[in-house]
Each structure stands twice: as structure tokens, then as C-alpha cells.
């Protein structure tokens, strides 16, 4: 396992450039720290994986949005986000004894976590809406809006002879998806 710790600036650039190798380096570098935090605070390795990946996503989005200022070490930021997320998780399942055993110093990252969770909630709603949508609408939506496939490809895939029919079908599907999405609380 490669435990080489990449420089913080290298990681930021890597994320912006969608570098697969940097993402991997980043992931491998700080996972042990978070595993240690979680398993010594009433969690298991699956909890550690969830929390850590969520924190990486928080960092990823923050960098992608361009509002990540390198005012603190990446390590501290990741640790702080994980700590915050884990505290929330413990409180939800009533497993929190009121005291968390810390292994690193940490920052107040409430805003980042709040933003992330709000966004995450929207995306979860979208996920649920897509699940409820049913075929072939789900695939048409995914192909067109998520995978950026052209109408031409979609016509061929679903055997629509008329592009207008396909467009009508797509429109109906989108309307239904919107309806499902906004109906959720």
C-alpha cells in the first residue's frame, strides 16, 4: 500500500485536473487516521469508510467550487470534517457518550458540513426520484442528462423510429421526474 503523503497543493491541483492518481494518493494517505478515530469511538471499519468518503467528497466539491483556501492543512480539514460527521452520526443513533477520543487537532467546520449535507439531501432526493421513475424513463434521463448522450443515440438504443417520438417521451419522463422530486418532503 502506498502511504506516501502528497503535498497539499499537489492535491488541490490534482482534484481540479480530475487526476485519478492524486485522488488515490489522497485517499490512501489519510484513511488510517480516520479509521483510528472511528474505531476508537464506537464505530467499525464500515462507518470509517462512509465517513471518510463523505469527507473526501466535501473536500472535492469545495475545491471544485473554487472556495477552498489553503489556510489549514488538508489533513486537519479532513480530520475535522470526519469528526463533525461522526459526532452527528453518533448523536443520531444514540451511541454518543458525550465524549470523543481525539487523535488530531481539529477546526470548526460546521459550515462546510452543513452545506454538504444540504446538497447531499438534494442528491438523495434525486436518487430516490430516479428509483421511483421506472424504466425506460430512468435510463433515458440518465443517458441524456447525466451521461450526456445525444438524442440520436437514445433513439437507436430504444428503437424509436421517429426522433419526435423520442423527444416527446423524454419530455414526459422529465415532467414525471420533476413531479416525483418535488413531491418528496
Amino acid at each position: 500500500m502506498n502511504t506516501e503523503i502528497p503535498a497539499d497543493s499537489e492535491v488541490i491541483l490534482g482534484i481540479l485536473n480530475n487526476s485519478e492518481s492524486i485522488l488515490k494518493k489522497l485517499y490512501l494517505a489519510y484513511f488510517p487516521m480516520i479509521l483510528q478515530l472511528i474505531i476508537n469511538n464506537n464505530g467499525d471499519e464500515e462507518d470509517a469508510k462512509d465517513i471518510y468518503q463523505e469527507a473526501i467528497i466535501v473536500l472535492y466539491n469545495k475545491v471544485k467550487r473554487g472556495d477552498f483556501e489553503l489556510s489549514s492543512k488538508l489533513k486537519t480539514f479532513i480530520y475535522s470534517v470526519c469528526r463533525r460527521l461522526w459526532l452527528k452520526r453518533l448523536a443520531q443513533v444514540n451511541r454518543f457518550g458525550g465524549d470523543i477520543k481525539d487523535f488530531e487537532e481539529f477546526l470548526p467546520v460546521e459550515d462546510d458540513v452543513e452545506n454538504h449535507e444540504e446538497r447531499d439531501m438534494q442528491l438523495n432526493k434525486m436518487e430516490d426520484a430516479l428509483k421511483l421513475l421506472g424504466e425506460p424513463c430512468k435510463t433515458i434521463m440518465e443517458d441524456f442528462y447525466m451521461h450526456n448522450r445525444s438524442m440520436q443515440e437514445i433513439c437507436e438504443r430504444f428503437g424509436y423510429t421517429n426522433a419526435d417520438n423520442a423527444k416527446t417521451q423524454k419530455y414526459k419522463c422529465l415532467q414525471r421526474l420533476k413531479k416525483l422530486f418535488f413531491q418528496q418532503k
Binding site: K24, F31, E45, Y60, L123, L130, Y171
Partner: protein, 368 residues
Amino acid sequence: MKDDQLTELIERYLDGDMSQQERDQFEQLCKSDASVNHKLKEHRHFTGLLKQYNERLELENRLNAIHQEIDVHTLKEDLMVHPSWVVRLWRNHHSKISVAASIAIFAILTTMYFTGDLSNEDPRFVELKREVGNLKRSTENLNHATSTIIQDIKKDKKLTNPGNYRGSGFALSANGYIVTNFHVVNGADSVYVQNDNGESFHAKVIYTEPQYDVAILQINDPSFKHLDAIPYTFKKSKSDLGEDLYTLGYPGDDIFCGTGALTSASGFRGDTTEYQVSIPVNPGNSGGPLIDGKGNIVGVINGKQTQTSAAAFAVKSNYLLKAIQNIPADSLSKSLNLNTKNSLAGLSRPQQIKKLRNYMFMVKVYNQ
């Protein structure tokens, strides 16, 4: 304009699929029609969410792929803060331990209740009471023993001790003067005399005459009472050969009577201060009187010849008298008057002895 056509327009606008003319027209429409503008924003947000959702899915997949490469199990073992075995034992078995402890406490309380330990009576009081009782009993025993000893002392019963050396002696006068051999009391630290009744009295050596092997003692014990008048006299003249003689003494614990005859006028190796007599004697006989048939003291037994059987020696009585005369006057706290009236002359030997034994003493010598 129908909704689906509008949506198509919006999509084309967002994708940049319009000519410049169409874009201007559409933007104009948005400005004039608020509902179109609203629709545009809503559509942009919604499709943006779909794209973000897609990004998240992709990122999650990438992260999961990376995660697959980590040996989480080994890592977990390394990072686990291992608590002490007591804590682990408690964490794993706390319910069982709690139940066991409850049962134990209940059992102890029950036992204490039934054995009365829960009552207010402090068991230590009982123990103390018993201890005090023991002390009381031991003190009573001690008191009893002490009072017995005091009573014995008051009754003048002396504790007897056999002494380091023993010899015999006999009374010179009724007021406590006793004669014995010098060799018996030589080197003594303290001397006791014991009468026929077993009563011991402390005595003091007041005079010794080593050349005649004579020692004079005086009983100086407060419990001593005067003897009756001495029945025997001291023969001043020499005795004749073949005369029947006997001696009394304490070779053992009881008084001993040895009989025989005068066999020679001179003693060991021709010592003229001594008689030789054919009386069987033993070491304790030293200092005992040599008595003739009329109850006269003719000598003091002082030894025997080991090679010859039944040959003993006795200091002649006239040398005993000489020694008595030689006693310095200031050594005598009481007068030493020898008896001159013989009251034994007409009596048979057993009757003589019956009277004599009251004047015979065992001389016990103590030294270090």
C-alpha cells in the same frame, strides 16, 4: 407555445445550440415573460442536480475502487487502542459480572442477617467480654497461687531444695549451735539445716577448725524455736577398743543408724586425732555423731577408707571440745553451754535413737 416546445427551447439555449438570432429572441422572451425566465432557472437547477448526482456517483465509484486496495483489517488491528484486559473483560461480560455480583451481595447479606451480624450488637463487645473474663480468671488463679505461697511462708514451711552438697550434723546446745565437718561446709555460699520433720533453717558458719575437720554452725533463722534440753553429753576421756558404738546421719533423705565397734585408737595413716570404727558409713554421714552405749558423744564421723571395707574414721570428741573452746567469744551471739547431764544412760538403743533424732540435722550446702 406548448410546454414541451418551451423546454426544448430552453435546452437548446442552455446547450448553446442556438444561432445568435435565436438567442437574442429567446433572451428577449425571458425578459418579457417572467414565467419563461422562471422555467429557465428551474430547468437549469434541476438538470444541474442531475449532473451533480452523476458526479457524486462517479466519485463514489472511484473512491470505492481505491478503498478496495486497502487492507482494512490489518490496519484496524494496528490502530485499535487496546484497553486493558480488565476493561475488555468488563465490556464483553458486564451483564454476567453484574448478575454474579448481585447474587454475591445478596448471599452475603442473607448470611449476615441469619448470623446476626446485621444486628446492632457489636461482636467485638462479646470478644472483649470474654477477654475480660479470661483475664479475671487468670488473675484469680494468680491470687490463689500467691495466697497459697504466702500461707506457706506464714506457716514456716520452707520450700526444700536438696542443695549442692549434703552432710550430717547434730546439736551442741538447745539454742541452735550445731557441729558438722569442716569439709562439708567448706566453700559454702549458704547453709541450711533440715530437722527430722523436714523443716529447713538457715544457718551460719561461725567457726571452723580445719585441722580437726570441725565446723560450728549457728541457726539464725527467725522460724527456729529452741530445742528441748540436750539429752546427751560429750565424752572427754578416750574410749576403749572394742566398745560398741553407733552413728546417726543423713546419707539419704531419711535418718540412718549405723552400728559397729571402735577398732583403732588412731585414724587414717595413724592420725591420733581420730578413731577408726567398723561402722558402714556413706558420704552423707560426714558430720554425724559417734555415740556409745550410754548416750555419750565420742566423736564426729568424718570419712572412710576406700580400700578397706567397713572402716570409717571419726574425730575424737576431746578435739571437738577443744575446737569449741577455741571459738572466739565475739563469734558467739548466744551462750554455748554444753550439756553435762546425760538422760540417755539407762535407755535401750532404739529408745535412745528415738530421743536423739530430734537433735540430728541434715546439713545442706549451696554454692555456685
